[in-house]
Subunit: 202 residues, 2 copies
């Protein structure tokens, strides 16, 4: 059996990548890559489900041992993608889904170029504004800043393999699921095993 595939699902904040990934995990036989962080768990967060919660020292050690596919420092805390967990699953032939922001995805593109990179787009900037506003508690200025940020991020789309417009969640989920299925039908090294088997059969 061929090795598993790593699907990196990314996009601007508010595009809906989280919702899409949650649905995919419900519908498809795929594993989620869980991030590691030095920040404290929030109420309700579960170790190994939301994050692996580690000390600064543990994080530094893993980082030093080249044990992260990517990492970032955000608001006083470190976040990273543990390499071993992902690689073990891929080796076992399991597909892995990794939900991450654009900066993180671009780093993973360098460390694991064999990944399949999917960019989730909002249907329009108007709709993105509505979604960000809907979350409440943000000022007009901060919303505008985030929209500007989203626009900047969208320009990295040429580093991705696929883009899916999240107009309607179910439709977008089905599309990403199709991409996953199609990628398993790509002509790759595995096919030569099948051809060898044919030769033996004839």
């Amino acid at each position: 059996m061929g090795k598993g595939l790593l699907f990196v699902v990314s996009g601007p904040s508010g595009a809906g990548k989280g919702t899409i990934c949650k649905s995919l995990l419900d519908e498809i036989d795929i594993d989620l890559s869980v991030s590691m962080t030095t920040r404290n768990p929030r109420p309700g967060e579960i170790e190994g489900v939301n994050y692996y919660f580690v000390s600064q020292k543990e994080f530094d050690n893993i980082k030093k041992e080249d044990g992260l596919l990517e990492y970032a420092y955000v608001y006083g805390n470190y976040y990273g993608t543990p390499k071993k967990m992902v690689m073990d699953k891929l080796e076992q032939g399991r597909d892995v889904i990794l939900e991450i922001d654009i900066q993180g995805a671009l780093k993973i593109r360098d460390t694991y170029p064999k990944g399949i990179f999917v960019f989730i787009l909002p249907p329009s900037m108007k709709e993105l504004r509505k979604r960000i506003t809907g979350r409440g508690s943000e000022t007009e200025a901060s919303i505008n800043m985030r929209l500007g940020e989203a626009l900047k991020e969208v320009s990295y789309i040429d580093k991705y393999d696929y883009c899916v417009i999240n107009n309607e969640v179910a439709e977008a989920v089905e599309r990403v699921a199709c991409i996953m299925k199609a990628e398993h039908s790509r002509v790759s090294q595995d096919i030569y095993q099948i051809i060898e088997r044919y030769k033996e059969e004839i």
Copy 2:
């Protein structure tokens, strides 16, 4: 709207590409590329559905005007894929499916490299033998020759983008349909139109 995509569905005789294409045409909004031939229509064959039946002179003229994506001479007759019909449909944003043998597909790879090339594989050589035998009226020697031919053809699989094992027709059809959907989500030039629209909206 982006232009349509050309899906070239190919594979050894007996792998089931014809059955798969027929199902796809029933299930999906896609057009079929109809070949041109100098041979006479057989009873029941309809002009423009099974083939475009043309005279040798007509065929030669179209060939001379570079009007064919590929052509071949088989058992005293010419067969070819008219370029204009395919290109017009793609230009109109319609997807086109083209069912063809491996030699033809390889020629189209040269004349239209933007096509998406799907190789249909039989589940095994044993099964392929059964399918060819099932058609009746072939001698053991001719069956063996065709299996040898199929094995030779399979070695061209690395010129293709995707391969689908036709174990169960419905499954294979769904897989090809997924490939078509996924290919429409590829990051391509079209995406920059969307980004321009975003910029105007902000």
